[in-house]
Symmetry: C3
Subunit: 346 residues, 3 copies
């Protein structure tokens, strides 16, 4: 679907430099873009890519406009403008209302007539699916689950019983929402399962990545607020609360009963210990470990970047020697030393 730059400028209220009749019909990176492509200057330091681009137009910020060799759509937040235009140029596949003959919809489920339900999907009793939803192939919608309007579930998504999804959710393949929390009581040397009778409540405009798992609450609900974005392979434990517009990157694990504030940005592979509280606007860098509450906004990290292995062992050995020296005092008498000896000191 081609759109003229003039129309885009009007529709999105941005400035246009260049011929308003030029038409774009897809997005492409600066380096590989050709005729018809709309491109995007993500980073002003990539000016060399800009000067060589063959895109029909580029979305960029005002200070980069002069250097643009082709037409430009100019906005103070070019990334957001680009996202909006790309969504118009590359819309999701059109809705084809209807229930695939192999889908199994319980007689007591309510599926809006405008929905598209894929092959081999199973929708249990008392489930409710709002208008214009697309449920892909091989999904399971459990008993009493509710799905709001305009949601899109890709293939083999599982919503266990009673899970509630708001409007406009996008759930990627393999996600499991509403599995039991890891609730165990120790009884002598054994474990007793604690039934997990809470639910999962998910707000509007939430995205959930492939193979991500979200556990149901033990007694209360697990809560994912409006606008939260979860990447792939994230684990959300029981009774976690995630505040609105928080984004979490792949492989992060959130232990039970953690409370995360609004507008946080949590990078990939972080770990959050149980029962802690993360305030609003907290940023965590990748692979950080959060063992205590972090109430105040800011950027937090515990990252240790790799080094050549021999160098790293020297660093680690030094640290342990210094720790021993502090402990034994005597202002730094060096001692022959090994990790093993250290342990035996205990």
């Amino acid at each position: 679907m081609g759109i003229a730059l003039g129309e885009l400028a009007v529709r999105f209220g941005c400035q246009l430099s260049g011929d308003p009749d030029v038409v774009v019909d897809h997005v492409a990176p600066l380096q590989s873009a050709g005729p018809g492509a709309l491109s995007f200057l993500a980073n002003p330091r990539l000016a060399s890519q800009l000067s060589a681009t063959r895109a029909s137009a580029v979305v960029l910020e005002p200070r980069s406009a002069a250097a643009c060799p082709v037409a430009a759509l100019i906005a103070p937040n070019p990334h957001a403008l680009f996202a909006r235009i790309a969504t118009v140029l590359h819309p999701p596949p059109p809705l084809r209302p209807g229930i695939h003959p192999t889908a199994i919809v319980d007689a007591r489920a309510q599926v809006d007539a405008s929905c598209e339900i894929g092959a081999y999907t199973v929708i249990a009793a008392d489930a409710v699916i709002g208008p214009r939803c697309v449920i892909g192939t091989a999904c399971q919608v459990g008993e009493g689950a509710h799905i709001g309007a305009d949601c899109r579930l890709l293939s083999r998504v599982t919503l266990e019983h009673g899970v509630r999804l708001g409007a406009r959710a996008l759930v990627h393949s393999g996600a499991v929402i509403g599995s039991d929390g890891f609730g165990l009581a120790r009884d002598g040397g054994r474990w007793l399962k604690v039934p997990q009778v809470g639910g999962v409540r998910i707000g509007d405009d939430v995205e959930i990545g492939a193979n991500t798992t979200i556990d149901r609450g033990a007694m209360d609900d697990t809560v994912i607020s409006d606008g939260v974005k979860l990447d792939n392979q994230i684990q959300v434990g029981h009774n976690v609360t995630i505040g609105a517009h928080t984004a979490i990157a792949a492989c992060t694990g959130i232990s039970g009963s953690v409370r995360i504030g609004e507008r946080c940005m949590i990078a990939g592979a972080c770990g959050l210990s149980g029962h802690i509280e993360i305030g609003n606007d907290v940023v965590l860098t990748g692979m950080s470990m959060v063992a205590h509450s972090v109430p105040k906004p800011g950027v937090y990290t515990s990252v240790i970047p790799v080094e050549p292995i021999r160098h790293w062992w020297r660093v680690l050995t030094t640290l342990k020697m210094l720790a021993a020296r502090e402990r034994h005092g005597a202002a730094g008498q060096p001692r022959p030393h090994s990790m093993q000896q250290e342990s035996n000191d205990e």
Copy 2:
């Protein structure tokens, strides 16, 4: 299903404080509990929640009984008592024996007549499924797989060929049991696959979380002992052995041929290097890295909690500086920290 407190006290052998005719029919947290609710005081420090509760009864330990404003069921291990009663109040959905017409059961598979087999589940030749199992929708039970009595598999669980599950297993959606181990032989600059011909043997009373993966052995079996509890998104490599009643939280990765003892508690997102041995009763805190064997009981960690990023970089810089100083430094002469000496070393 309502039960009188007096009946619960008799059935579970615990002390009752209050009216034995009071009936409870569900569990709820102290703060939100209302009439009919049985609640639970997890932590004596939450006494303020106890004093304000509107639950019909609370499970707690003896020292908290006096402060309870409502009826109390009293036990030295209230968490275990609560788990037992909650299991009575919130039983799993009743078994509905029968094979869904869309399930495909190979003529050479043996499925006990008391089982419930869900829609779109595929059971291959020579699979054996014991009495009273519930196999959810879209599961795959591979050739020659054995499932003991009273197991419950939720949706789209995959048991690859030959996997053996004991009695009373609970396997959550998306789990894959019996996938190939990561066995590769280097051959010049390329990799050759080493066929993975071992199996997976899982004991009784094991729980396996959503999207968890357990690899089959290379030649011998991967072994999960009785009473082991695995949370979501855990990876168990080939030939791993996990001892009885060990519990492992989400996102932990266990490399091949690791041997873990009994009654261990391994928190979330830990990593265990290949071929190491963890003794009985070892506790690992979250995100710990185990690179060497840990034979003795105890609590082990390598956690580094987050700090504000500027502060953290200072810590890391200091560490590296000290390592460099030790390295260059005058054969172990302790030195006061000063710029001058540092400069002379460089």
Copy 3:
């Protein structure tokens, strides 16, 4: 299928010590092997296992041959030889060409007549599946996806639209290939989705583990080169490039736009920050964090192995104390210093 040692020696060009008429028909570990078993001495330090073995024959390297009490197949790289022979003794199940009656193949899809397509698998329009592929049960092959010759997908593998798999791919259960990258633009306090319009291109001879996820590119493709081996539960972000013959162990997370070279070995649970470059022949130990590019070959780590918790806290406390002392100074003299300078010492 039994094969005589003499035949194996000829076929694989290795030296034989012992009776060429001895027949082996399966592989087994040294300790548990019995008649008919071919075993393998992985590590010369396990010589005691070798001397006690009851295997019919053992694959080993020349320096271990003298100590072998049974027949031996001798090669400079015994692991590779063993992999080759084991593949002959334990071939994958034979191909049974045909499309299961419950599989749904779009009229516009092209499935080679030699393929085996499992129950409840759905193949969308314009998908192309090459000769001799085995697609297991409950897989989804999206619109326009291409699968090369001789591929094997186990159960419930999802290939989203347009994904391209080369020849001889082996994809384990639950893998999701071609899910949306985590592309978001911040807009005030909210997130806008950036449509992910790139694809995924996967070379020949690639293995992909259970529940691994590989995101499609934002605009360009995500690229996995020939011979790459990915273990279970790996996350590959959008626009990642992985060079030929690189092997990556389970639970590793690779952020968007990372470029990884050829023949790298990345252990389990590593984390790679976005937009960095890893050169050829780089080795990362388990749970390492890579925050910056690593252009040169070598072994890199940031591992901190566990210690008893009380000891560990002392180490951590010391580190922070030293950091504070450095900062406030030997008489408060601030010193110019940076990690960069430190690194330049090497």
